[in-house]
Amino acid sequence: MTANAWMQFALYFAVLLLAVKPLGLYMARVYQGRLFGPESRLGKCEAWIYRLAGVNPSEETGWKRYAVEALMFNLVGLLAVYALQRFQGALPLNPQKLPGVGPDSSFNTAVSFASNTNWQGYGGESTMSYLTQMVGLSVQNFLSAATGMAVLVAFVRGLSRNSAATIGNFWVDLTRSTIYILLPLSTVLALALVSQGVVQSFAEYKVVSVVDPIANADGSSVTEQTLPLGPAASQIAIKQLGTNGGGFFNVNSAHPFENPTPLSNFLQVLSILLIPAALCFTFGELVDDRRQGWAILAVMLVIFVPLLIACQLSEQAGNPKLAALGVEQTASATQSGGNMEGKETRYGIVNSTLWATATTAASNGSVNSMHDSFTPLGGLVPMWLMQLGEVVFGGVGSGLYGMLAFAIIAVFISGLMVGRTPEYLGKKIEAYEMKMASLVVLIPCFVVLTGTAIAVLGPGLEYHAADTSELKGNLNNPGAHGFSEVLYAFTSAGNNNGSAFAGLSANVPFYNLALGIAMLIARYWLIIPTLAIAGSLAAKKVSPVGLGTLPTHTPLFVAMLVGVVVIVGALTYVPALALGPIVEQLMMTQ
């Protein structure tokens, strides 16, 4: 690795870790209701929202009611986004006169944005009107993230309360996440991004002349270029902060109007991990033992950093098949070297691998390079980071509650090994919690592997074109890499990530439906058992720390938890990975 690569990585982690405590503490105070009291101006605004909606903010609910409200709210959003897409042709703010979107694609996108996945079967600039992007997709970026954060806070209450019947008020947690955390951060980030050149306008696409007209395939001359515009920066800010990842333009943050400079890139990639990392501190603060939060953050970093370095080494080493053709791939002062297919010059290798690993460690899914063109092992890293269950940072809220489910399993296993009663933060872990935690861990694995198996048996390989009904292949690449494209798609949907090996033609009925169902299961069937654990733990008494208690903030426990996450991920997925990227790597180097 070059000296500059180490410096860019070090700077990234330094800034990220410096932000963890202040932001984490701020979020803890927000959820405790200790900031913005009812007399403050913002507090009045908050109270006004509750009055209008008929919510009593001081009334708390049990876990079942909390789950019903969360699911109901997400259903409303899903239906609204579906309707907006179907009817956008007849609605205002559509200067490009884009027609309504088809039913299967609309379903897929509505699920995708409600579930915080933001898988995109469509190309933004050629499909979605400004109204759909702004009032539909942008809003879901906020609300799906806020839902994840609300569920996390409810879960943490379950851990920290003593013999309680309630775990909080969903509407309050949702509103506070949105207006006190996501909205101010997004506003600042959006303006910073515009200053770098991200577009933010309601004008129609601009047409400019080109300097050197080129000949088209049919002999005509291309003398003009269309510059796509739109309210992009406001959406890009929240798509990064809320681990959403749905791009405004087709190539997401590789598009120069979505991510124009190294500085905009740094801010965006920082935003991917910012809230998930800071929530670890929030967790420690809310359970009144900050060491617990730092321990969880340490687990995430211990898994993340080696995988980042592995990805960087593989991409920087480049593609031996291209070297054989006379292509320079050695890094020097004047070029980044490495595997530059599908990467942008301004980011080179270092910023592409940092982004690829961060976006898949967190369930963000935005991209600034094309993962499909990564070297096999370079592409295996992002795929496996998702397959670990999106718990290494993971989605805002959802990553941490996923990791805490793993912590429950780790406590249980260590308890068995040393013959002690398993306890986490003073709460006894019993059969019910273990069943629910196992569901949280196993459901995504089941969805990913079953979905991939069904697709490669036939339905995911060929389709009839909608206009000509000509038979076409779904895969953009032959052999092992084609299998990787399918595996990546279900891995991404089944863990609510949203990034893709984008060569796969996924905007066809089979993938729209199959991936839509995968996203629904992976999001909501995990929220329910998570809240069930919360309800069950809240009702238990906190047992005092004794000689028999296994401490959960020590390096020993960190190692134990890392082991559980890595072993579950490896045992489940190595056979599938062997058929895709591992075979391909062997073919590339032979």
Partner: protein, 191 residues
């Protein structure tokens, strides 16, 4: 249950108003005032004509110009439809395309004998990459100078003037903006 649905719908409406209407409008308003050029696409003017955006690459194949990176969009550098090639590393389609590009680039640069800089023969992620590496620019200096009848020093000077180094000396990669460099070349030769 009906009460819960009612709360859900109203909450959704209020939060949509805040995050889907108020928020983008405020950001647009402030951006249009503070960062007018950037918010509208960083358009480059030549005289009265809008000749491109400094952030979006254009296709160049004339020997008098510096060439940018291969683009996977159709036609190349199609601003309305960004796309990468999404070809895997051992896909024969990729290897054939790169071999073809290496051949073209070598034929156009007889004075260069070393391997071809990678970014000059691989497709960018967006298909709209406005930059090439300084190595890729230096590779082309002889050709551009010859076809324009300019001295090598003059062209080298322009390339150096349009080479951006890493932000704060750390972030990103050194790069040359192809459109801006070519516009500068044209301007230098205008009588």
């Amino acid at each position: 249950m009906t009460q819960c649905i009612r709360m859900g719908v109203i909450m959704y409406a209020i939060l949509t108003l805040i995050t889907g209407v108020l928020y983008p409008l405020v950001v647009t308003g402030v951006s249009q005032v503070l960062f007018h050029d950037q918010a509208n696409g960083s358009v480059v003017m030549r005289g009265e004509t809008a000749i491109g955006s400094s952030l979006i690459g254009q296709s160049f194949d004339d020997p008098r110009y510096f060439w940018g990176r291969p683009s996977a969009t159709s036609p190349a550098y199609n601003g309305a439809g960004s796309s990468g090639s999404n070809l895997g590393p051992i896909n024969p389609a990729l290897l054939d395309a790169v071999a073809e590009r290496v051949k073209t680039v070598r034929a156009a640069h007889p004075t260069q004998t070393g391997p071809v800089p990678g970014d000059l023969v691989t497709a960018s992620a967006s298909g709209l990459d406005p930059h090439i590496s300084p190595a890729a620019a230096q590779y082309q200096i002889d050709r551009v100078a010859n076809s324009r009848g300019l001295s090598k020093e003059q062209v080298t000077g322009l390339v150096a003037a349009h080479t951006e180094s890493r932000t704060f000396g750390v972030l990103g990669e050194p790069r040359v903006n192809v459109l801006e460099l070519n516009l500068a070349l044209d301007a230098a030769q205008r009588p």
